[in-house]
């Protein structure tokens, strides 16, 4: 076990709303196709909304017409005037939500039902926090329902670890069974990914918001890296990658992150990884565990 400062972490409420699905739009009612890496049109469904049959633990690949497929329920921030929704409140939702945080529905038929944060995805023009609910509770949810997140985890530190920790609740972190061996944090991951395979998201915002894609095209790259087995919610290690005050290449650094959403056929895009631990000095030792997935650590069942 590692020694942490979890007794000092602020616990607070964040407010969001179940986000509607979105499609690339060419006007009020005109759907436009996205262009794939090899010049083909594709619809690109999967971002936002309530997915009844896609969950953390499911494959990143093989969903027809899907781009950036998010499992479970997508939650967006609320930026409007009123109590509890001041300017910057959406940013706080994306930045402060952590995997393992409890989500509770405040409106409608599902009022009172509880879910759990499993991921975070950052987009220009509106990011998402991704949550899991039981199959039974999913049926009760409505797009637009307000939800609250019991945010706990920002500021978490491990004594003796030279690096940053992000987007993990203390209980989720405990479930990973982390160890500190010779100053190195041993973290379970399904796979290590080299820097050259990392694509869109580089240069983006600080580690606690947004993602960085593992490129899932061309097919030769997927085969070369053995990405076919990648699942939503998998933990992966990215070599020579630093995600802390931003996202960039840094030789010798190691970042461990979680796969938030599924594959892409657009050039430079693919499953998005948000950071949970990063060390500029490379003080992270990935330990391969093919079961290293959020669904397992949170004990989620369908």
């Amino acid at each position: 076990m590692v020694k942490t400062n979890k007794d000092k972490i602020i616990v607070q409420e964040l407010l969001g709303r179940i986000a509607p699905p979105t499609l690339s739009s060419g006007g009020p009612s005109a759907v436009i196709y996205v262009t794939t890496w090899d010049g083909k049109p594709k619809l690109g469904i999967g971002s936002g909304g309530i997915k009844y049959n896609v969950k953390v633990g499911d494959s990143c690949f093989g969903w027809p017409e899907a781009e950036y497929l998010e499992p479970g329920v997508a939650i967006a921030g609320i930026e409007e005037r009123g109590v509890g929704a001041a300017a910057g409140s959406a940013t706080a939702l994306y930045g402060l939500s952590c995997v393992g945080n409890e989500v509770q529905v405040l409106d409608g038929e599902g009022k009172g039902v509880k879910g759990v944060v499993t991921g975070k995805a950052g987009y220009i023009g509106g990011s998402h926090v991704i949550a899991h609910f039981s199959d039974e509770d999913l049926q009760k949810l409505t797009l637009g329902d307000r939800v609250r997140v019991r945010a706990e985890g920002v500021g978490l530190k491990i004594e003796g670890f030279d690096g940053g920790l992000f987007s993990m609740s203390p209980s989720f972190m405990d479930s990973l069974g982390l160890e500190l061996k010779n100053d190195e944090l041993v973290v379970p991951v399904v796979k290590e990914v080299p820097a050259y395979a990392m694509g869109s998201g580089v240069g983006g915002s600080a580690a606690l918001s947004g993602h960085w894609c593992i490129q899932s095209n061309p097919p030769e790259l997927v085969k070369e890296l053995g990405l076919e087995a990648l699942r939503l919610g998998d933990l992966v290690a990215c070599g020579d990658v630093l995600m802390h005050y931003g996202k960039g290449y840094y030789r010798g650094a190691v970042t461990v992150g979680i796969v938030a959403f599924g594959a892409s056929d657009q050039a430079g895009h693919g499953p998005g990884v948000f950071a949970i631990a990063s060390s500029k000095k490379g003080k992270i030792k990935p330990r391969i565990d093919l079961e290293a997935n959020v669904a397992k650590y949170l004990g989620l069942r369908r």
């Binding site: 010049g39 580089v202 061309p218 290449y249």
Partner: protein, 287 residues
């Protein structure tokens, strides 16, 4: 090298010079707050051919002047149609009638005017572009080489030769896939960056500090056909358009102008491979 330039539509698009913007400090890759100067506006002492590195508090420094179109649909047309090397003509203000060239596309288009005209222009002045280049193809390479955002006449002046059925392109240097950063995954209408937020040994190894605005570079294992992405064995050629960065994953931006999946593009090192020389707007240093 021959092209289909006689078949390309040449048309006018309009832009206006934008004011510098930005707010206070932002945090660099290593956790240091910094003020970053250099985007937008009119620069009196930074132009094509100058070094991308070493400007005090410089952040994404844009050479020359920066212009955009504030109306969204017009801006989209400007972004697609205008090409590096296209001729521009100032249409308002004290510099009315002045002529220059587009030297890059960042968020704004970057423009070179001569020193005298640069002093006369005002922020807000309208500049018209003779947009020409969309649809450009190199004869014999139509299926293998994607041409992007380059004026046909400038492409012909870049010293490119056809040898053994391959395009031999003079470049100042070659860069590996892992160093490519912000802009990855975006469309061909915007640049993507050679990252400068790695350790000094990597920066020295790749010679990034030596780059100048307007340099031609080669990007290995990079395919820019329908977006910027990784493709083993591919090769892209681009123009360096803006300066150094301290923000994680950023650095000098490159607009891609040629790209192939195969081995049909062969880079050849030439320290003078810079659009300033090719356009005849920058004198080569005496050796």
């Amino acid at each position: 090298m021959k092209t289909n330039k006689d078949k390309l539509i040449k048309m006018a698009v309009m832009a206006e010079i934008v004011h510098p913007s930005g707010a206070g400090y932002s945090v660099d890759f290593d956790g240091m707050p910094r003020v970053g100067l250099g985007m937008y506006g009119v620069k009196y002492n930074v132009t094509v051919g100058d070094p991308i590195y070493g400007w005090e508090s410089g952040e994404h420094v844009e050479p020359g002047l920066s212009m955009r179109n504030s109306e969204p649909s017009q801006s989209a047309a400007l972004d697609v149609l205008a090409c590096i090397g296209n001729e521009v003509n100032v249409r308002t203000g004290d510099a009315r009638g002045a002529r220059g060239y587009i030297i890059g596309k960042h968020v704004s288009f970057l423009v070179w005017l001569n020193d005298e005209d640069q002093k006369k222009v005002n922020i807000g002045d309208k500049i018209q572009v003779k947009a020409w280049g969309v649809g450009l193809k190199v004869t014999g390479f139509e299926e293998n080489v994607k041409v992007n955002k380059i004026d046909p006449d400038l492409l012909e002046k870049m010293g490119i030769t056809v040898e053994n059925d391959k395009l031999v392109v003079p470049v100042v240097g070659e860069f590996p896939a892992y160093i490519m950063g912000s802009g990855y995954g975006m469309t061909l209408n915007v640049d993507y960056d050679i990252q400068t937020t790695c350790s000094e040994d990597v920066i020295d190894e790749l010679g990034i500090k030596k780059l100048r605005f307007g340099d031609i570079v080669a990007l290995k294992d990079q395919l820019s056909w329908w977006g910027h992405g990784y493709y083993k064995g591919a090769m892209s050629i681009g123009v360096v358009i803006h300066g150094w960065s301290y923000h994680a994953g950023h650095g000098p931006g490159v607009d891609t102008i040629l790209s192939t999946k195969s081995d049909r593009i062969v880079p050849k090192i030439d320290v003078d491979a810079n659009i300033g020389y090719y356009l005849g707007i920058k004198e080569k240093p005496k050796k």
